[in-house]
């Protein structure tokens, strides 16, 4: 019960504690990159793809619905993310706090956030893709028609070849 209450209050807590650092979207970061460059920011979105470990750090990419932004995090912080977004899953929704770089000198000019903390604000979920019946019926009918036309065409070609 305590855990549930904590999970429910966590987003609110994050918003309240986010006063010290600017809460930004990817569009704001891209459009006003110079303004936010080198500043502590908070960025929230869905972790997508997979983590890419580099030594004791890792790259994770977080998509806020408009763009995905690269997050450079130490192994411990990155390990907090359990599920990454893909065809089969909605990834963990995370709140990243860290320093934004318009053109990171440490990472060859990458547009990134060096995370000081990553908090999972909503765990990801598996996504089911059931087979829809109308396309299935259409597929069967079209493939049957295609087979019939193929056989007809082969007969025509054989006839042309003989005459």
């Amino acid at each position: 019960m305590r855990r549930r209450v904590f999970s429910a209050l966590l987003p609110l807590l994050c918003i309240l504690t986010g006063v010290a650092s600017a809460q930004v979207s990817s569009v704001e970061l891209i459009e006003k990159a110079a303004e936010f460059d080198g500043r502590e920011v908070e960025f929230r979105g869905e972790a997508i793809g997979e983590p890419m470990r580099r030594g004791d750090h890792a790259w994770i990419n977080v998509n806020d619905g408009a763009n995905a932004v690269g997050i450079w995090a130490d192994g411990g912080a990155a390990a907090a993310v359990r599920l990454y977004g893909s065809y089969r899953a909605r990834g963990d929704a995370v709140l990243v706090r860290g320093v934004f770089h318009r053109s990171c000198p440490e990472h060859g000019g990458d547009f990134d956030i060096h995370a000081s903390g990553i908090t999972v604000i909503a765990p990801g979920t598996a996504v089911d893709h059931p087979v829809r019946i109308p396309p299935l019926i259409a597929a069967v009918l079209l493939l049957a028609a295609a087979l019939a036309l193929h056989l007809l065409w082969r007969r025509r070609e054989a006839f042309r070849g003989r005459s």
Binding site: I30, I48, G109, D110, A139, R156
Partner: protein, 500 residues
């Protein structure tokens, strides 16, 4: 003027268009099988619908088009132009069924972008796309690089005379062998050998940068397909920025630069003539324009202090430039960063690079290095003529798979194609401006679609006006086919609509 087409003309065009459509249908077996292997059942059904529709239409056209006449150049050209439009509509079906697009027009835009190896996308929520659909996206661009007609010639068309006319209609006129079928097979052989090498290189690089082995393989395969075909698609919405890796970027540069070279040059190197690389007018032209434009781009970026050091300048400035010049369209920055940060000088250099493009008879688009080289030689010749006595005779030579003498006809046809490219570039820029975009943004995006590049400054989004989407589809199509097939198709349609 083309005489009014008869029923036989329509039958011939329908017959060859049907064969190309069947070829594209058979191609759908690859994403269909991928979806089945990955347990993506609903995706497999989408591709079964696409496959069935393509085969029904293809065989239907073949049956309608049975005819005993020999195809002429006009038939070859019109078929090439028309079949690209038909397969665009058919190949868009699995896109529409995937639920990742807002309209059928957006689906057709992405198919045309893939087939023409442009690389601009209107797809929604790319980071959650299935493996099957990603396979289709990248296969489209890989096949488009070699040419869908080349695909049909390899497997489905057996008629030699008609085959060559179709082949030329698709904007390729190099014959690596006397037989057009052997040429088509050689193009596929070159591409498939590089496919194995490139996928392996990117697979290893992917594992080295922290991707899981399975996804490193798929990313390697897809990114290689898009690199070799100078396509620019990538499986993730951040494009190449997703990988955050100098190594990965360097490997992609190698393959998209090689992909932008003429298939005849590859064939020459494979058959032992390595000197051709240094002497060929296209590679010389590409090296020259790339060097000059790199200097201009770097100057523009350094003047504004956009990137903090040489590594950043290479990974961001040079990468986008060489990606644009080879008409690949891979990006390691966000589209809007061009508009917000790069400044006019670097953007102008990018526009010129995208219009210049890669080599003739390659997977690349744009004016092509051969035409730029020919026009540069013609300028030198004309200047020399002016400076010397009127009685002096000049012979201008250039190296293009052997020493050749520059002739009036070559200069005229090169100038004509370049003028047509500039005309459709101006048209799309104008339409962009009329839709309310700033002139530099409109010109950048227009250069990108005209040269089949795929870099974006942020204009190409699903919410852009339908008129602009249609203009961009036209430019991608016309630019890829190098106008002749498009002009022939337009002439044929006008003649068909005439009363007599």
């Amino acid at each position: 003027m083309v005489s009014k087409p008869r029923a036989d003309d329509f039958r011939l065009i329908a017959y060859y268009t049907g064969k190309v459509t069947v070829g594209v249908g058979i191609l759908m077996l690859a994403p269909f099988a991928t979806a089945l292997l990955c347990g993506e059942w609903s995706v497999a059904v989408d591709f079964a619908v696409g496959l069935g529709a393509a085969l029904v239409l293809g065989y239907g056209l073949c049956l309608l088009g049975v005819c005993r006449r020999e195809p002429t150049w006009l038939h070859g050209m019109v078929t090439a132009g028309f079949s690209w439009l038909v397969v665009m509509a058919v190949a868009a079906l699995p896109y529409r069924l995937s639920g990742h697009y807002l309209s059928y027009l957006d689906c057709m835009f992405d198919v045309m972008s893939g087939f023409t190896t442009t690389g601009l996308v209107l797809i929604q929520d790319l980071d959650h796309v299935s493996i099957g659909l990603n396979m289709w996206r990248h296969l489209l661009t890989f096949v488009g690089g070699q040419g869908i007609i080349v695909l049909a010639l390899t497997f489905l068309v057996k008629d030699a005379a008609g085959g060559y006319k179709l082949y030329v209609g698709e904007g390729k006129d190099e014959r690596l062998f006397p037989s057009v079928f052997h040429t088509a097979k050689a193009i596929w052989k070159i591409s498939l050998v590089y496919l194995a090498v490139g996928t392996a290189a990117l697979w290893i690089s992917g594992i080295a940068i922290g991707l899981a082995p399975g996804s490193a393989f798929l990313h390697g395969l897809w990114v290689y397909m898009a690199a070799w075909s100078t396509g620019g698609f990538a499986p993730m919405s951040q494009n190449i920025l997703y990988y955050h890796s100098t190594l990965y970027e360097a490997v992609t540069i190698v393959f998209f630069v090689i992909g932008s070279f003429n298939f005849a040059l590859h064939h020459a190197v494979w058959t032992g003539n390595r000197k051709e690389v240094y002497r060929n007018i296209e590679t010389v032209s590409f090296a020259t324009t790339l060097t000059v434009l790199t200097v201009v781009t770097c100057y523009g970026l350094m003047k504004l202090g956009v990137y903090p050091g040489a590594v950043a300048l290479f990974r961001k400035g040079f990468y986008q430039l060489v990606s644009g010049h080879t008409t690949t369209g891979f990006m390691t920055i966000y589209a809007r960063q061009f508009a917000r940060e790069w400044g006019d000088t670097a953007l102008l250099a990018m526009i010129v690079a995208m219009l210049f493009g890669g080599s003739a008879c390659s997977t690349a688009g744009g004016f092509k290095g051969l035409r730029i080289g020919i026009l540069a030689k013609a300028m030198v010749q004309e200047t020399r003529k002016m400076l010397k006595p009127a009685s002096a005779v000049f012979v201008q030579r250039f190296h293009y798979h052997g020493e050749r003498t520059l002739g009036e006809q070559q200069v005229r046809s090169a100038a004509l194609i370049v003028i047509l490219y500039v005309a459709i570039f101006a048209l799309a820029t104008l339409v962009g401006c009329l839709c309310g975009y700033p002139v530099l943004d409109a010109a950048f995006e227009s250069a990108s679609v005209t040269g089949n590049v795929g870099l974006s400054i942020g204009v190409t989004v699903a919410s852009m006006p339908a008129a602009l989407k249609l203009t961009y589809i036209f430019n991608m199509w016309a630019g890829r086919l190098e106008f002749m097939a498009v002009l022939a198709t337009a002439g044929f349609l006008v003649a068909a609509l005439r009363r007599r």
